[in-house]
């Protein structure tokens, strides 16, 4: 029941909108079946399946709006939910920033639905966990992991004739392997649309190797180092930057994207010339819903940064109307273009440096410079003359992604990672002068 077809969804949306007596109305139908399994100490701890389907209806009277939702779809229920949205709209205060509902949108065609993920069973989840636990036991390490998979759909419509339907699947797996003596820890992840492309056993193997290799870490002095950040380590910093990447706060003078004297930094070269970051819902590696979640505006491929130059900033329709600029919704995915080298090749070209598997507990220190702090975790190694020499203790870093993206030496191949609630393609980066400010004893 959780996943409706395009025609089933359209029938419900058309019907509910016919009941509208408001000046305008829109409706969104979403459904998902999400499964998960969690394990720790080489033993399954919890697992479950959650089914959820919901119809949200918005009624508009001028600048007033009301939203009501329901999870049953009889004619009487559909009429009731529309009446309720209308009542709520009449009672609500005016929203001075309300924009009229959109007209028909042309949505990009996106293929992100894989049968293998759609058909997943509890037994497959249990086997995926077992593959990881068995691999751990063989190498005498302790596994803790989590697999979550989803099949979902969304359909939107409004009284101006807008309609869209999108179905998707996803599966995300993360695993931490720790040596029995507590001196080594390794981590790996896999984020896919098609579960057939996920092998929890081999992903676990990567984490096991890192755990075993990271035992008896030595302490290096904090300071500025050349680092090789694996994609998951990069995504922590780049994700934070893109979360704060917004036209309105920049124009208001309260963002790292604000220009001295007023305005924003669109058109400025702020990064290394190789930096190219964009969003594209139709990307084959990270397919995403082709409309903006808040107002259903169609998403297009949009360059945020190209040749190191700021090209665009997300701008809401309201803010665009104030400045007569084009409205650009935030993307539902992120692609950072990388190079063609593997992480192993990046290591090979490095005389002295630090390999970072993952970054953790990243928080804003100063929004003015986008200075972030956080730590390395689950596999940090010293590189000398093109080889991993020995494991080192974790570091705390204080670094701005803006500075990091100016100090690029080399870029690795982009990989798909789960990031901030969506999926992204992020490369490994070799970066000079990365600032580690203290040591951590954490393993």
């Amino acid at each position: 029941m959780a996943i409706l077809s395009r025609s089933e969804a359209k029938r419900i949306l058309d019907k509910v909108l016919k009941y509208s007596k408001a000046e305008a109305a829109s409706a969104q139908l979403t459904g998902a079946e999400t499964g998960n399994i969690r394990y720790a100490r080489n033993s399954v701890s919890t697992s479950g399946v959650v089914n959820d389907i919901e119809l949200a209806v918005e009624a508009r009277f001028g600048k007033k709006s009301g939203i009501a939702t329901i999870n049953e779809f009889s004619d009487a229920s559909l009429e009731k939910v529309m009446r309720r949205a209308e009542e709520l709209a009449k009672l609500s205060p005016d929203n001075p920033e309300a924009m009229p509902l959109l007209g028909k949108q042309k949505y990009m065609s996106v293929d992100g639905f894989a049968k293998s993920t759609a058909d997943m069973t509890p037994d497959q989840r249990a086997k995926a966990a077992a593959d990881s636990i068995i691999a751990a036991k063989e190498k005498k390490v302790v596994a803790a992991g989590y697999l979550e998979d989803a099949r979902s759909f969304a359909a939107v419509a409004n009284t101006n004739g807008l309609f869209g339907y999108h179905a998707a699947t996803s599966a995300n797996f993360t695993v931490t392997m720790r040596t029995e003596n507590g001196l080594g820890s390794g981590w790996a992840q896999s984020d896919v649309s098609d579960f057939a492309a996920m092998d929890t056993g081999s992903v676990s193997g990567v984490a096991i190797d890192k755990a075993v290799m990271s035992q008896e870490a030595r302490a290096l002095e904090p300071g500025k180092y050349t680092v090789i950040l694996e994609p998951s380590a990069v995504s922590g910093l780049v994700g934070f930057m893109m979360w704060n990447y917004d036209a309105r706060s920049a124009d208001e003078g309260r963002s790292f994207m604000s220009k001295k004297g007023g305005g924003n930094r669109i058109g400025e070269k702020m990064f290394d010339k190789r930096v190219h970051i964009y969003s594209d819902p139709a990307d084959l590696n990270v397919p995403a819903m082709p409309w903006a979640e808040d107002d259903h505006m169609a998403l297009e491929r949009v360059d945020w940064i190209k040749d190191g130059v700021v090209q665009n900033l997300p701008r809401s329709r309201y803010w665009a109307s104030q400045s007569e600029e084009k409205a650009i919704p935030q993307g539902n995915n992120l692609i950072m273009v990388g190079g063609d080298k593997s992480t192993a090749e990046l290591i090979k070209n490095t005389r002295r440096g630090v390999l970072v598997t993952r970054t953790w507990y990243i928080r804003m220190v100063d929004p003015q410079s986008l200075l972030l702090t956080g730590l390395t975790r689950d596999g940090t190694f010293y590189i000398e003359n093109g080889k991993i020499k020995y494991p080192i203790k974790n570091f705390r870093f204080n670094e701005s992604p803006v500075i990091m993206l100016n100090n690029i030496e080399e870029m690795g191949r982009a990989e798909r990672v789960g990031m901030w609630g969506y999926s992204a393609m992020i490369p490994a980066l070799k970066v000079r002068d990365f600032t580690f400010s203290s040591l951590s004893d954490a393993v």
């Binding site: 720790a40 003078g253 220190v365």
Partner: protein
């Protein structure tokens, strides 16, 4: 669309937060209405207990929960968003074949809950194949039919929306009149109506209320391109709307006005605007070693991260290894009876009975009565935070009452109780403390925070920083963050103010678990001093 919904909340906390939203949008009037009658809940609970027992469960508990949220968000002269949500359903947890099983449903008919009860038993049986540690539950005596309510004076959810909007507009005007460039302010209200029943013979009806009134004021100097923010100095509380009364007797006048059991948001907005502007021209800190005087609203976050989390037994045991992490406070350190967590002055206790705290309940989410116990005594680690199925691993046979689930559809697990630093025993004021510092910084309010996955190395910022020289405050400073190691830091604690300065502060959205769940928790402390802590300068140039 396939992940949990979040409201993006830039501008009402340090660095912006993701606010998890549960339940479906409803009208404010529906939030204020009564839910299902307690007698009906007992009938459904008995259906669950009987069905699960017949299906082979050796233990069963059921939580029938109605979870209500109201969020009112504003900026400058506008209401940005009003969100009312309701979520109602039942979560059923069983033990079968020595293994936990869980299922949840929003079909609250006898057939619906019976089906979920059978599903929970089936899940337990399926998981038993991959489970090598059979569940051992500490005994709990059934309490029969009882009830508990957060001791509120004014139910915030029943206060008309228009009154809340008018109040936030007054707050915003106060900041704008004082020269703020921007202000974001909000009210978050939570009401958990939880009915718990278990095969131990407990039927517990609880009505839990929480409130948070955050704001962030921004001052921008467009000419220089510099901007500074100052967050409100309120705290989330386990109180009703009376928290916003701003009673004179709850105000502490000093470097700025601080608040005890009630908050004057209009006054704080004006002060925030003045102080944000002052930050624009404040001196940048010289890095080095300083004695830190940490105000309770600030220190509670350090306690949360460096004491609350490392003493969660599930982290210590490795259950959170893949997400939140493990802990440096390992069992061997605790068993030694000699592990020096802090100086002799340092005493931490856990307490789920403190009135006004976020963690206060009558009973936890597995029917264990709330209580108080020691974690660190005279600087020595003495205990952890545990649930019924964990205490046997630390040779104890009574649960600490730390079980919590953030929704009826989430499985309950070990969460942090209120963890607090006991005040100093001798009379000692903040003025006395500052007078005794030669070179130091007085830090107020919650700022940036980050700690490693075993809770050794941390870095904290703040909202307001005042430089102390030879026993006197000499001016406001900026770009301050301190770094330390948990054990070194608490062993450097050289003085704690007395009980008159003790107050609670909390956090609304503490995240843990996979899938991630949030919980709310408070920490009490008095202003405390820490000697020779490493302070860094956080100013950077990006172009």
């Amino acid at each position: 669309m396939d992940r949990r919904k979040f409201l993006k909340l830039a501008g009402v906390g340090a660095g912006g937060i993701m606010l998890p939203v549960y339940g479906v949008p409803v009208s404010a009037a529906q939030l204020a209405s009564n839910g299902m009658d307690v007698g009906q809940k007992k009938v459904l609970a008995d259906v669950v207990l009987n069905t699960a027992r017949k299906a082979g469960a050796s233990y069963t508990d059921v939580r029938i929960g109605r979870y209500l949220n109201q969020f009112v968000m504003t900026r400058e002269t506008n209401v940005e968003n009003i969100v009312n949500t309701e979520s109602f359903g039942a979560g059923i947890r069983v033990i079968a074949n020595g293994t936990w099983g869980f299922a949840a449903t929003n079909d609250l008919t006898p057939d619906g809950v019976a089906r979920a009860a059978r599903q929970a038993v089936a899940v337990a049986r399926a998981n038993a194949k991959y489970q090598s540690e059979p569940v051992q539950l500490a005994p709990v005596k059934g309490v029969g039919e009882v009830s508990w309510q957060t001791p509120i004076q004014k139910n915030a959810i029943q206060v008309p929306i228009s009154e809340k909007v008018d109040y936030l507009m007054e707050v915003n005007n106060s900041a704008l009149n004082a020269g703020a460039s921007f202000i974001n302010s909000a009210l978050y209200l939570v009401n958990e109506q939880k009915y718990f029943a278990s095969s131990d013979g407990s039927y517990i009806d609880q009505d839990v209320h929480r409130l948070w009134a955050p704001m962030q004021v921004t001052a921008v100097d467009k000419k220089s391109g510099v901007f500074k923010t100052r967050d409100g100095l309120s705290t989330p509380v386990g109180l009703g709307y009376e928290y916003l009364d701003g009673r004179e007797e709850d105000k502490i006048h000093g470097q700025t006005t601080l608040y005890k059991d009630s908050y004057d948001m209009v006054e704080d907005a004006q002060l925030a605007a003045e102080q944000a502007k002052a930050k624009l021209s404040a001196k940048s800190i010289e890095p080095g070693k300083y004695d830190l005087v940490l105000e309770p609203l600030h220190l509670r976050l350090t306690i949360h991260e460096s004491v609350g989390h490392p003493l969660e037994l599930d982290r210590v045991l490795g259950y959170e290894a893949n997400y939140a992490g493990t802990s440096f406070a390992t069992l061997d350190k605790w068993r030694s009876g000699k592990f020096k967590y802090g100086s002799d002055k340092v005493n931490f206790f856990a307490d789920r009975t403190q009135p006004g705290s976020l963690g206060a309940v009558g009973y936890d989410d597995e029917g264990v009565q709330a209580k108080r116990w020691d974690l660190v005594k005279d600087g020595i680690l003495v205990n952890y935070q545990a649930t019924r199925d964990q205490v046997h691993m630390i040779d104890q046979n009574e649960s600490h009452g730390c079980s919590y689930a953030d929704s009826w559809s989430s499985v309950q697990f070990q969460r942090m109780p209120n963890v607090s630093l006991a005040p100093g025993k001798e009379k000692y004021s903040v003025k006395d403390m500052i007078r005794d510092v030669e070179k130091g910084i007085y830090i107020l309010g919650r700022g940036s925070y980050s700690i490693d996955q075993q809770r050794y190395n941390f870095q904290f910022g703040g909202q307001l920083f005042y430089e102390i020289k030879n026993g006197e405050i000499v001016g406001q400073v900026e770009d301050v963050a301190y770094q330390s190691n948990t054990q070194e830091f608490w062993n450097s604690c050289s003085a704690i103010c007395d009980e008159s300065d003790y107050r609670l502060g909390g956090t609304f959205f503490d995240g843990k678990g996979q899938p991630s769940q949030v919980s709310a928790v408070s920490h009490g402390c008095a202003t405390s001093r820490f000697d020779q802590i490493n302070v860094i300068n956080t100013k950077r140039k990006i172009s």
